[in-house]
Each structure stands twice: as structure tokens, then as C-alpha cells.
Amino acid sequence: MNELRSEVAINRVLLTNPALDSGAIAVRGTVFHVFGEAGDHDVTILRDGRVAGRFTVAVQPEGAVPQVNVDLAGLAADADRSGNVTGHYAVREGGVMGFAVGLGVGRYAVVISHTAGGGSRTVLDSRGQLPVGDLFAVTLVTPGTYRATNLTSQARLPITVAMPGRGEPYSPARSTLVRAGDHGFDPAAAHILAGQSIVLLAETPARFLIEPAPPGL
């Protein structure tokens, strides 16, 4: 470490506060898909409707890791001209793959198909609904009031984001799990500190939209 640069770039997306949509994955939002069946799964990454990357995940009954997180922006950047991504992904049956975006303003979608017996079956198209068992995690930075909506059921969840108190113990790495079922969200309201995450678990097919609450609500 002989050279030091004090001019560093902040992840500027963190300075904005757009709505976070499970159908358009962006920085601060992560879709987690649970692989329920063994076998190869084709994963297609879409950016603004266009294919930006493609790879296969081998879901194995045993011997593979329970979770793999991928950075969609990074993968898209590494893909070749035909969109193929080099690399081998494997996850345990029942395991999870997290699709996040590390940098930039791109909005991504993920389509996962299970290939078995010569056929192919879509198990996730994040542009539509997350299947039961999948999750959408969002990190909320700007203090204030938010509203999470399951666009499928129109169920709503008020979220309060507060600044950490001075001198109080604070860790951004604390998340709050909220279940989204047929009867709405459970719990019915969530309170977190700025920089922490809300994890929405789809117990019924769901598409989640989290946005700052309009004034007066």
C-alpha cells in the first residue's frame, strides 16, 4: 500500500431513493429464488427487456452450496456477444440463488427455466410474480415512511425507516422478515433503521413494489 487515493467514488445510486420493484431489480433490491427441484436450470438475465446474460445452474441433491448470490450488473458486463456467461454455478436442491445489482442504474429481470426430459419449464420470471417461497429484499437508506405493495393482491405494508440514534447500537446488517400471504403482510407494519433491509417472503405468488409513501398517507 504505497499509493493512497482519497478521491473515491461513492455508490451514487445510494444518494437517490427510487421505488424498488421485484420485477425490475436494481441496486438495493435482491430477488432470492429457491430451487425446489434438482436438475439444470437455465438462467436468463434481462436488462431493460433485452438479454444481457445467460448461464446454467446445476441444482444438485447434495454436495453443492446452499446459496449463491450473483451481481446482475457484473454478470451482464462479463457476458460474451451472444450473452453467455462463463462460469459454473451449482446450488444444492432447496438452495437459494440471490440476484442483486451492485452498481449502476440498470434495472434487471431474471427468467429461470428448469430443463428436464427434453422439455423446459419456467420456474421464475421476475417480471411477473415471484413464486411461493421466493423473497425480495430491499435496503432502505433514506429515513421516512415507505409503502410496500404486493401488486398481485394489492396488500400494503407501511414501513417506517428511522435514523439510528446517536450512541445507540446500530448495525446495518440487521434485517426484518415480513411474510406476504393471502391475507396481506405479516406483520402488518415494519420499522427499521436507515441502511437496514426488509425481506419480503412470498407465501403466495407476489410482485412487490416498495416506494416512498406519498405525503399525507
Binding site: R5, I10, L14, G133, T142, A194, G195, Q196, S197, L201
Partner: protein, 306 residues
């Protein structure tokens, strides 16, 4: 009996010490990588005051010379740890899911602070020396660059042969670097300011600071030190940079080989030149210098015509 005996009282020696000390200037700068952090310094040490004792054991003692830094700029650069928001885990009946988190910075963020430590450190120098005679020959006696600069400043003529009487240090007592506790506070303050400048304004700024928690703790973590920054800093100067040894060596060279207390031209121009005749010089031979508790006595012989 020697042809020539010159005795210099303790008072004259002390006055000469004042001049010598006034021209003492140790300058050093260094920069090094220590893995997770970089540190550098740029300093100039000067001497003031002090007393001189001639002792009946044939030695000279210089005592209580104040060694102060005109400047001691210390630069510390630390790589910031990867900071992110979000992250953590969520526990489900089917297992634990790890949230990736959102990194705050792109690139390799680093915090660089420069603090002038000069007001916070002082040393005292004492040494016991013996007179050392050197017959300086411009053709063969080597003089270091730094020494040449000092000679120029002191108008010491290095172009002619001379007898030189040095106070050659036998023992040197120099205080180790020992920074006051306040230096630790100063550093934390500077470090906090630097982080402040690194971060964007607005709520994110406060959130990140809240995420960092104690800047002092972060600093100690980054420097991998248990608790006392001032002690760490002292060790850095004393041991890692070796400034302490550099100073000792410089003091030994300065008094022992660079700045002589007394000089005699050899041959010595006894009769000045006149408008039509060259000066008359006498060769100075067999120079000795001895110290008693009252005076320094220099003896020499005058070379006879062979």
C-alpha cells in the same frame, strides 16, 4: 615541552558549543508501507540551550540540550474497510439466507491524514565526548554532503589542510519518542475530519458514521493496535522508522566528524602577506588535545626547517 600550548577555558568552549548547536539541524523524511496502512514523516530537528562541562577524566559532557522539532509532519494513510448497507442474514425454516448488502464505495477508498506532531514531542540530548584530533586533508579526507552544507553555512574552509578538534561522542543519551496522550486525540480528530470529507453529505453521511460506530475504534482496528495511539506512534518512530537510531547516528557524526569545535590551519600563516611578499607559514605538528576540569589544552610543535 611542546613548542606551542593553547588553553581554552570552559567558558570559551561553552560559547563555541552555542555556535555549534545553533547550526545543528537534523532533517529526515521517510515513507513506508506497513501492510494495511502507509505512514510517512518529514521532520527537522534543532537543538537549543544546553550546558558544557569539562571533566577531569578527560571528557567533555554536553548536557540538557533541548532537541525540538521545527516541523514533524506525520502522514498516515489507511485503507478503509469495505463498508456496506443492508446485508446480514434472514432465518427461514428452510435455512439461513445471506443478504448481499450494498457497497458504499467504488475503488479502494483510503483516508490520508497529515498531522504536525512538532508541538507534541520533545527530547533532551546529552552526551559525553572525548576530544578527537583530525588532520584534515582536502585531497583525502571525505566529507559527506550534509556535512559540506553545514561547512558552507559555517564558512568552514574545506580547501586547505587543517587540524580539527572534535568532541567525539562516546555515549549519547537521547530521549526516545514519547508522544503525549493528547496526540491520540489529535489523530482521532484528524481522522474523523478526513472521513467526514470522504463521505457524501446528507443522511447517508450520518448513517455511514453510525455504521462505523467509533472512529477511534475503527482507527485502532485499521492500525491493528490494542488501544493507545500515542504509544503506537512512538513505537513507529522509534522502531519501525528507526528515527531514533538515525538521530543518534547523526549526532555522532555531527559532533564526531562534521563540526569541529576548533580548527588550526596547517601550515599556519604566522606572518600575514604584505604588498610584495607572501605570507609566512609554519607547519603545525604533533597536535594533541587534553581536557581537564578547567580547560581544554591543545599542544603542538612547529616544524623546523630541515
Amino acid at each position: 615541552m611542546a613548542d606551542l600550548t593553547i588553553a581554552v577555558s570552559e567558558a570559551v568552549c561553552a560559547k563555541t558549543l552555542e555556535v555549534v548547536v545553533a547550526n545543528f539541524g537534523f532533517e529526515a523524511a521517510d515513507r513506508a508501507s506497513f501492510g494495511s496502512f502507509m505512514a510517512g514523516y518529514d521532520g527537522r530537528l534543532v537543538l537549543k540551550g544546553g550546558t558544557l562541562d569539562l571533566r577531569d577524566d578527560g571528557t567533555v559532557r554536553l548536557r540538557e540540550l533541548d532537541a525540538r522539532w521545527d516541523k514533524l509532519e506525520f502522514t498516515l494513510g489507511v485503507a478503509m474497510p469495505e463498508l456496506s448497507l443492508g446485508g446480514g442474514v434472514v432465518d427461514l425454516p428452510s435455512g439461513t439466507i445471506h443478504l448481499p448488502g450494498v457497497t458504499l464505495f467504488t475503488g479502494d477508498p483510503a483516508v490520508v491524514v497529515t498531522v504536525d506532531l512538532a508541538p507534541f514531542v520533545k527530547h533532551e540530548l546529552s552526551l559525553i565526548a572525548s576530544p578527537l584530533i583530525q588532520h584534515f586533508d582536502p585531497a583525502t579526507t571525505a566529507i559527506g554532503k550534509h556535512c559540506q552544507d553545514l561547512h558552507t553555512a559555517l564558512d568552514i574552509d574545506d580547501t586547505k589542510p587543517q587540524w580539527r578538534v572534535f568532541c567525539d561522542p562516546q555515549t549519547i543519551d537521547f530521549d526516545l519518542f514519547d508522544f503525549a496522550d493528547t496526540v491520540g486525540d489529535l489523530f482521532e480528530e484528524a481522522f474523523t475530519d478526513a472521513i467526514d470529507k470522504l463521505l457524501p453529505h446528507g443522511p447517508l453521511h450520518d448513517i455511514i458514521l453510525a455504521a462505523i460506530g467509533s472512529v477511534a475504534d475503527l482507527l485502532r482496528t485499521l492500525l491493528d493496535i490494542p488501544d493507545d495511539i500515542s504509544e503506537w506512534l512512538s513505537d513507529l518512530f522509534n522502531v519501525s522508522f528507526g528515527v531514533f537510531n538515525l538521530i543518534l547516528q547523526f549526532v555522532a557524526d555531527f559532533f564526531g566528524t562534521c563540526i569541529s569545535f576548533f580548527q588550526l590551519d596547517d601550515p599556519y600563516p604566522m606572518f600575514p602577506r604584505t604588498s610584495d611578499l607572501a605570507e609566512v607559514t609554519v607547519p603545525i605538528q604533533h597536535l594533541t588535545a587534553t581536557v581537564s576540569d578547567a580547560e581544554l589544552v591543545v599542544t603542538a610543535d612547529i616544524g623546523a626547517v630541515s
